[in-house]
Each structure stands twice: as structure tokens, then as C-alpha cells.
């Protein structure tokens, strides 16, 4: 019995040895896919945006801080001021759109961002830095291209000094940021396909049409009022130019936004037209961090000068009249309201 057990064990050993020679086991295998790693920045927790009280809502949201009584000379900003900080940094950091034709858009032929908003910022920069040898003040401006939804957060975080991004002044935004006086008065309209038969936003709502508007904008807030526009289907996109794409691809029947922006869209797509009257008021202001009250006052003084010395009218002429974007000649600059009490 003992010998038999030994033989059996030997047989198993021989079998396994032979088996290993014949590659019964030890499979070769490809390793799995390589996965790249990167440390992602922590995302701050979002809290519910503050709401205005009824009394606050009843007040004129375009009230801004009084302008500085006297503008300091370029290059001689008051010590400790936000302007001095910008001057010593050597450049003003601004948040802008790069795809809102006429107001803030990248010109692919020159690689420059240009438009009404950009010119407004250039004047503020010129007041801080003075004329530069090249004559091109934009070399003192650092552009950060931001989406509609990024406008308030980029100011709150201090990532930019000023935002000029067709931004409507309203009470709820004042709770988070500060605004200059109104530098342009726009209104919400609707862009439809040429020959669609839609003449107003109410026509579109009656047809149960789909309208696109940028997320985080006052435009989408207005359209989302189901009681006002029953039957209207609203879709949001990160940027308003995504809405023009949605229209061109048949995802949306219309785009609703400020008439100024829509005029730029109609210029890019001859198969579309802006219809109807303005159904909201959209007063544009430059946006600032809430704490940079001195920069707001400084900018208000610059804008006030522009209103009176014709620079504002020149900008209007260049971007909205010469381009044929808005009918008629140069409109009157919106009246400034500087009655907000300083904090």
C-alpha cells in the first residue's frame, strides 16, 4: 500500500511537470487600460442665491454709487485703492464674452476680442494706465473668456477685476456683486427662422414652440414664467451662441436674448430674423466685486465723462450703427442714476 501511494504521488508529480512543459497554466495577459490622474480643485459648495425683499425689488436697480468727484490722473491712482493695485499689477483682468458679436467677440482674422463691451473696458483701462506707446490700450488688459453662468462667480472669487458681458443690472445680482451705472439699455426679444410666421414671443408660446436661452441669464428667468408664457418650451444652454447652433440644428424654434445679442446672430445667419417688440428691459452695467466700491466709483466717473465727451456715442456708432445692427442713428446714452448709498 505504501509503495502504491508513493507511485501515485510520483505519477502526479510527473503529470504536473509535463503539464507545465506543455503550458497548461501561467497564462500571459495584457494589463488593463492606463488611467491618467490629475488633482481636481475642490468645488466650493453652492448655496441658494439670496433673494431681494419686495421693498428692494421696488427700488430702481440701476442706482449705482456716486462717481469720484475728480478722476485721478492716469498712473497716479490713490494709494491703497483697487485702481492702484491694478496699476501696479500692470494689467486689468476682465471677464468677457468671446462669442457675442458686436459686444464681445473674438475676431478670428486678427485674434483680437472686440465689441462694445471691450471698448467700454478699454476706456476704464486708459483712465488707469494712460495712453501706451503702441497706442493699443488692450495690451494692458488681460481677457478671461467666461460663460454667462461664470459672470458672478468670477467676480465673487476675485478672479477678475471687472466683468463686461452684456450683463443686466438687477436687484438679485446686487446682493452678490456691484454694478456701474447703466451704460447701455437693451431689451429682450426673440430670434426666429425667417418666414416662420412667428411675430412675437406670445405667438411662439401659442404654438407650443421651443425657445432657447442661456443658463444663468435674466432672459431664461423671464421665459421660465409659465403663467406669462403658457405652452412655451424652454431649453437652456451654457452660452447663448449654443442657442444659435440649437436653432440651426433644429433643436430649437427660436432664441430669446437681448436685442443687441440677437442682432449679432442675425448678422451671422441670414436665415434668421429678430421679431417683435422688447418685452423686458435689460439695463447693462459693468460688474465688480462687492468690496471694490472705489473701482465702481472710478468707473462711474469714466462712464460719465464718456457720456459727455462723445466717446460713448463713438462706440455706439462703431458697433451698432456702422454695422447696421440696430435701426436708426446713435441713441441717447442711458441716464445715470448715482443715488446708491455708499456702504
Amino acid at each position: 500500500m505504501k509503495h502504491r501511494a508513493i507511485r501515485i504521488r510520483r505519477a502526479i508529480v510527473v503529470l504536473l511537470a509535463t503539464c507545465s512543459v506543455a503550458s497548461c497554466s501561467g497564462d500571459a495577459a495584457l494589463p488593463g487600460e492606463i488611467v491618467g490622474v490629475a488633482v481636481e480643485p475642490s468645488v466650493p459648495t453652492t448655496s441658494t442665491p439670496p433673494e431681494c425683499t419686495t421693498a428692494e425689488n421696488d427700488e430702481d436697480a440701476t442706482r449705482s454709487y456716486p462717481p469720484l468727484a475728480e478722476l485721478p490722473a492716469p498712473g497716479a491712482m490713490p494709494a491703497g485703492s483697487t485702481m492702484e493695485e491694478i496699476h501696479s499689477r500692470g494689467r486689468m483682468i476682465v471677464g468677457v464674452s468671446a462669442d457675442t458679436l458686436l459686444f464681445g467677440a473674438r475676431n478670428p482674422l486678427t485674434d483680437r476680442i472686440e465689441g462694445f463691451d471691450i471698448d467700454m473696458l478699454s476706456e476704464v483701462a486708459r483712465a488707469i494706465f494712460g495712453d501706451v506707446p503702441s497706442g493699443d490700450i488692450t495690451e494692458r488688459i488681460e481677457y478671461r473668456v467666461i460663460t454667462y453662468a461664470d459672470r458672478l462667480p468670477s467676480l465673487e472669487s476675485g478672479a477678475v477685476d471687472i466683468v463686461a458681458h452684456t450683463m443686466t443690472i438687477n436687484c438679485r445680482r446686487w446682493l452678490r456683486i456691484a454694478f456701474s451705472s447703466e451704460y447701455f439699455h437693451a431689451g429682450q426679444k426673440v430670434l426666429v427662422k425667417t418666414g416662420s410666421g412667428v411675430a412675437t414671443i406670445d405667438d411662439l408660446a401659442a404654438q407650443g414652440g421651443t425657445v432657447c436661452a442661456p443658463e444663468g441669464s435674466t432672459n431664461i428667468d423671464e421665459l421660465s414664467n409659465a403663467a406669462k408664457y403658457p405652452g412655451l418650451v424652454v431649453i437652456g444652454k451654457a452660452d447663448i451662441s449654443d442657442c444659435l447652433v440649437a436653432m440651426q440644428q433644429g433643436e430649437a424654434d427660436a432664441t430669446s436674448g437681448d436685442d443687441t445679442v440677437l442682432a449679432g446672430f442675425a448678422a451671422q445667419d441670414p436665415n434668421t430674423e429678430v421679431v417683435g417688440e422688447r418685452f423686458t428691459d435689460e439695463p447693462y452695467g459693468l460688474g465688480f466685486n462687492r468690496d471694490d466700491v472705489d473701482l465702481v466709483q472710478f468707473s462711474n466717473a469714466v462712464i460719465e465723462q464718456m457720456r459727455t465727451d462723445g466717446r460713448w456715442a463713438d462706440i455706439y456708432q462703431r458697433w451698432l450703427v456702422d454695422t447696421g445692427a440696430l435701426p436708426g442713428g446713435v441713441a441717447a446714452a442711458p441716464a445715470a442714476n448715482h443715488t446708491r448709498v455708499l456702504p
Binding site: A22, S23, G36, D99, L109, D242
Partner: protein, 420 residues
Amino acid sequence: MIEPMALTRSAGRLAGDTPTQLRVATAITVLCAVAVSIGGWYALDRRANAIDDAGAAAAQLVRVQEVRVQVVQADSLASTAYLRGGQELAEQRRLYDDSIAAASGGLIDSAASAAGTDAATLQRATSLLARYVGLAEQARANNRQGFPVGAAYQRQARTVIEDVVAALREVETNSRARVNDTVASGHRSSWLLMLTALVLVAAIVGGSVWLAQRFRRLVNVPLAIAGALAIVVLGVVVARSAAAMTDADDAVIGPLAAADLLAQGRAAGFDARSNEALTLIARGNGDAYEIEWLRSASAVEQSVDRACSRFSVGCDARDWFGSYRSAHEVVRTLDGDGNWDAAVDASLGAAVGLPNARIEFEAFAAASDEALQLESDRAAAGFATAGDSLGNLGWLTVVVGLIVAVLASVGYGQRVREYR
């Protein structure tokens, strides 16, 4: 060794008288020889099929990875061309067209070689690629006319290309699993040949010993020849079969693994280059794309580092990517400091006195491509060699089994005749 004499003795005792015992022994040996013929042929056929399937899965993996590289390269070229606006270089445009054509052709070839869910996934990738091309063209056309809506088309094209890449990665994962499964199946297939061969040799040896003891003769010549033939030929068959499997293993863990790493590194590299362009298009607000750049760069570095350290291939590509990383860091510093124009120039290679990210990246792309082609060819050759090694071993096993059966019958027959 399995108890051959005990087996034969037991059979003999059960069978009763000696002639009957001889006939039983003959039957057992012939049955074992036939089992070797059938089992051996089946096992070798399975191994040959497994090696062929592994080679086909490896070829599919390489093909799909090449499509992914071409797709990501096309997107990288479109993104950087967007930065140039109306000044797109003719050479870059030609490269873009070539990449799209190569990707489309590769998708057709891959779909023809795919089955089941992979075929459906590749079909989806094909239609997504067509959609991408349309969107990229819209972006380009609008961009050239100075219409900013081109940026929106470019963003949409980017999301579509991400879907194409995700689909291709799914097929790559399946192909990788198929290579591993078929190789494992090839390894498992040998047991039947081994078992039947061992039992046959045991039966012949046991029978020979029993005959020697029972008939007082040292050697039964036919049975001895059968044993020698079985041991020598089946030994050669087993050895060559093992060698074929080793060749397949070597192809998998050698050039195919290296090619897999290099292809992944190349795809991640082009993705990084796309993200560099997107950080600049976002102009000062490209943090999200920079995170993606870092993720892609990490994948490149892991891939080419492993390829270089384990297989001594792609070391040039690793070094060039290091140079590109340095140039990219300069691009980011310039952009972060508000010097966007200089950042674009450094990225596109138009800057004087600054690192040239384009040149460094193109050197990485060329070095990794050369290494990848070499390793892919070596992997294909490895599988072909493995398949060729098996040749007609299956039929040889059948013939040997039948000859052994005849010799065993003759050998035992000589002793049976002594009782007539």
C-alpha cells in the same frame, strides 16, 4: 507514472485466461491510441484556433487603437487650426483630412472584423465621427468668416469626439479581454493531449512489462516500436505545441503589451495637445481643460515610461514628451500672466526665443508612431510564428495514434497466436 502494470494485471485478472487477457490488453492499448488520435487532434486544433483568435483580437486591438489615435489627432489639429483663425496652415489641413480618412477607413475595417456588441459600438462610432466632421466643418466655415458661433460648433464637436473616443475605448477593452481569454483558452486546451498521451504510454509500457514477465521474453518488438514512436513523436508534438503557446505568450507580454502602451500613450498625447489648444481658446479661463491636459499627460507618461522601462521601446517618445511638457508649462505661464498672444505663439511654434510646443509635440508623435509600428508588426509576426509552429501537428498525432494502434495489435497478436 500511473500504475501501468497494475492496470494491465487487473484487466488480465478480470479477463480470466491468458489469450483473453492478451485480447483485453490489445483492446485497451488500441483504445488509448485512438483516444490520442482524437483527443490530440482536438486539443491541438483548439490550441491553433485559440492562437489564431488571440492574433485576430490583438490585430483588432491595434486597429481600433490606431483609429482612436487618428480621431484624437484630427481633433487636435482642428482645435489648433481654430486658434489660427483664417490662417490655417495648408499642411495642417492636409494632415486633418488624412487623419479623418484614416479613421474612417480604420472604422470600416474594424467593424468588418467585429462581432456582437463591438460591431454595434463601432457602427455608433462611425456615425458619430461623421457628425463630428460636420460640426468641425461648421466651426471652421464660421470661423473663417469671422462668425463667433464657430466657437459653439467647436465646443459641440469636442463633446462628440469624446463620445467617439469612449466608444473606441470600450471596443479596446473588449479586445484586450478577448486576447487574454483566448490565450488562457489556448493554455487550457493542452490537457486532453497530455492525458491521452500519458495513458497511452503507460498502457504500452505496462503491457510490455507484463508481456516480459508473463512470457519470459525481454522485448516485444512491435510494442517496443509503438512505445518508442509514441514517446518520441508525442514528445515532439507536446514540445512543439508548448513552444507555439510560448510564442503566443511572448507576443502578448512582449510586443503586443508594448504596442498597447505606446498606442495608449499616443492617443493620450494627442488629447493633451487638443486640451492645450482648448485652454487657449478659453483664453485665461481654461482651468478645466488644463485639468484634462494634466490627466492626459499623466496617462502618456505612465504609458511611455512603462514601455521604455519594461520593453526598452518608446524611450525617445518619453523624452520628447518631457520636452513638450516643459514647453506646455511655458504656454500656461504666459497665458496665466495675461500674455495670451505669446502663449498662442509658443503653442503654435510661432514664437522666437520661446520653447516651441508644436515642434516638441510633433517629435513625440513621430517617435511614438515609429515605435508603435515596429511593436505592432512584431506582435503580428509573433502570433503568425506561433500559429505556424503548430502546423499539421494535429494530423501527425492522428497518424501516430493509428500506427501505434496497429503495432500494438501486431505485438499482442504474436503472443495470441502462440495459443492457437
